[in-house]
Symmetry: C2
Subunit: 193 residues, 2 copies
């Protein structure tokens, strides 16, 4: 990979500053009381530029999740089964991937806790978080189909894995360290090893 140009470095910098400004303001006043104009001002960019980097106000909360999704998809694709996976086999593969997701999202525990706090307090952010999860499930569904799984297995397995993730997340509460063990326990309870 080539080193980023000056242009690209400035863009990355602006992007990061917008995210930092947004999280700082959200922490101070709460999500609803912060306007996009406020964020842009503190980040020292124009309001228009904010919308060029982030499609809407909600997106800035999930700033780098698109990278995660790509990463997770790539990782899962590398778990190549040697034959079309049955439902049980697909669920086993997905357990590994789901636990990797847990590691990924809690890599920055401080930011994780803050994001959970924001989501808990703003239904619209909960909606957006759920959309991200759905997208991931759909992406994994497609990969399963590529690997030869039946339509039923491809539709069901990622949803069940997501159920385990959400249930584990709920039991874990806001504690980043508790996420993965609780998700693992949910898979165990369903007999998925």
């Amino acid at each position: 990979m080539s080193r980023p140009s000056l242009r690209e470095r400035k863009q990355q910098r602006a992007r990061d500053e917008i995210v930092e400004a947004a999280y700082a303001l959200f922490a101070e006043r709460g999500y609803a009381a912060v306007t996009v104009a406020d964020i842009a001002e503190r980040a020292e960019v124009g309001r228009t530029t904010f919308f060029r980097y982030f499609g809407d106000k909600q997106e800035v909360v999930f700033a780098n999740e698109q990278d995660w999704l790509d990463d997770i998809g790539r990782r899962h694709r590398e778990l190549r089964p040697d034959r079309p996976p049955s439902l049980a086999e697909a669920l086993s593969l997905l357990r590994a991937t789901t636990e990797a997701v847990c590691e990924q999202v809690t890599r920055d525990p401080r930011r994780y806790a803050e994001r959970e706090r924001l989501i808990a307090g703003n239904p619209e952010l909960g909606d957006r978080a759920a959309r991200k999860q759905r997208r991931l499930a759909e992406s994994l569904s497609e990969i399963l189909r590529e690997q030869g799984a039946s339509a039923e297995t491809a539709a069901l397995a990622p949803r069940v894995a997501l159920a385990c993730y959400i249930a584990g997340r709920e039991v874990a509460g806001a504690d980043p360290a508790a996420l993965r063990p609780n998700v693992a326990a949910a898979f165990d309870a369903l007999g998925i090893r």
Copy 2:
């Protein structure tokens, strides 16, 4: 129950007219191209009144789903197990409830198909639909806790049932009649009878 007063009848009528106007306009122009002012005008009410009946533009698409949620919750509460349910037992109870949900939402097949069409074309409506599903899962989770289920079971079982519902819905596509059988097949595949 006492018969509704004139006031209540007019309100119900206004509510119904708003929903009818909204669905008619959405069918004509699509969700995004219809403004709340348009809906209010066709329903012959003030714009303010629209927001008094429906918190936001999205809500009108899911007009009577709150009633469904209450109904489903009540129905599930009536399935009283004689002892605290294990995970497997909770899943069995939830299978019955989930199949009842299938019947409920497809009771008006025309409206069901139209709603699915709108949701498929507008991500924000998908978000809202998912929020409703989450709410239902949380409500069922609470009922399970009341019935003595463990925190883990209460968190996991409704999410798994929801996974079966969504997977079945995906396989069924827009065909109302195919919903319940496909959801049932998903439960079968997981060994939940």
